[in-house]
Symmetry: C2
Subunit: 228 residues, 2 copies
């Protein structure tokens, strides 16, 4: 369960401040697949950054499984990010000095898994997203959509219990996008992965069971999927 209570995020100091999040309240139950939609600049990425502990709220509380993040020490936060969280970044955040394979495996390297297991895992997940032929290339040698899928593989290779996805289909053609969305659907239904996905795309949003709408740093409405 992910819960945000009166979360606010203000950037800047002195005379030049900007309120990116303004009184966010939300609860995401374990196993939910929730979408977040809203205009450009409305606070979606900021919200994911704050929920994932990558950034800190200016005020307010965030609870992960009933534990207030503000009360976790750095070791506990690192363990959460390493063992429970997967994050597909809007701008991918691949490391340019690592190959596609090494980027995908980075979370597992941090968890000290055996080398042979690593290569098998990388091969298998890369095949699923049709990027197995580029595993030895570097990020500057692959296309935008190939980078995005590399980022997806890296985010899900640890089988995280919470997956935050920031516009994971933006650079994908419709076939690749559908492949990804079906994979997320399966993770949610089979592995009970909790998924929070930011998207601008109505087709992607149709995979969510519930969609929160954000504007000017505030959630102002939500839609819950019917049974049609």
């Amino acid at each position: 369960v992910v819960k945000a209570t009166n979360v606010k995020k203000v950037y800047g100091l002195k005379g030049s401040i900007y309120t990116a999040l303004d009184d966010i309240n939300l609860t995401i139950e374990t196993g939910e697949f929730v979408g977040i939609m809203g205009p450009s600049g409305s606070g979606k990425s900021t919200l994911l950054n704050v929920l994932s502990t990558i950034d800190h709220p200016t005020s307010g509380d965030i609870f992960i499984d009933n534990t207030n993040l503000a009360q976790m020490n750095e070791d506990q936060l690192s363990a959460f990010r390493r063992d429970k969280l997967g994050f597909i970044f809007q701008d991918y955040n691949l490391l340019d000095t690592l190959t596609v394979r090494e980027n995908i495996l980075l979370p597992l390297a941090l968890a000290k898994i055996k080398a042979r297991d690593l290569n098998q895992k990388a091969d298998k997940i890369a095949e699923q997203f049709f990027i197995d032929s580029i595993l030895d290339k570097y990020p500057y040698q692959i296309s935008g959509g190939q980078k995005q899928r590399t980022a997806v593989c890296r985010a899900i290779i640890t089988n995280p219990s919470l997956l935050l996805a920031d516009e994971p289909t933006g650079a994908l053609d419709s076939r690749s996008a559908t492949d990804l969305l079906e994979c997320l659907k399966e993770l949610n239904e089979t592995d009970k992965t909790t998924i929070l996905m930011v998207t601008h795309d109505a087709f992607a949003a149709s995979y969510c069971k519930r969609v929160l709408f954000i504007k000017d740093g505030t959630i102002f409405t939500e839609l819950v999927k019917g049974n049609t």
Copy 2:
């Protein structure tokens, strides 16, 4: 007029080569608005890079207004890129050490326009895309969609005669995307700007008069817009 004849682009050397473009032939007439669609990794960005002189084909010829690019010297190529070309990059290519305003104005700074004129031009174009409030921020301080629109402003501020746009709506919500597409439509209809736009989005493609479909580095079909 942009014309490509038997263009091929091969990456790599020795035993590790990859053919990203394989025998491209196309003609874009002055004033056309042409789309390019195709699967991820099919060669779209590579094609734009080669047509814009940012990269070189391995073989084949490209003509801009009947002049073979291979016969232009570096000064002529620089003049073409500076005076005639606008490019909206897939990953935006903003300079992190420049503000949004300075990024937008970079092409004009290169053309040595007067300072007062510069600020007016930046204000005007930024207002058109609703990023006038962030002109003094740096790229790490703005959202994905705000970066994309900054890149758009920078590409069109010189009123280029040829605009290459690599997935210019990928990070935009539908309202921002429509604003951009309407702007491109106006540039094409009013200023006679020749536009070649890569897109994965059917709505964006509907703005094009003609769409070329690329797969495995080859154009394999095209659709021409009817009058319905």
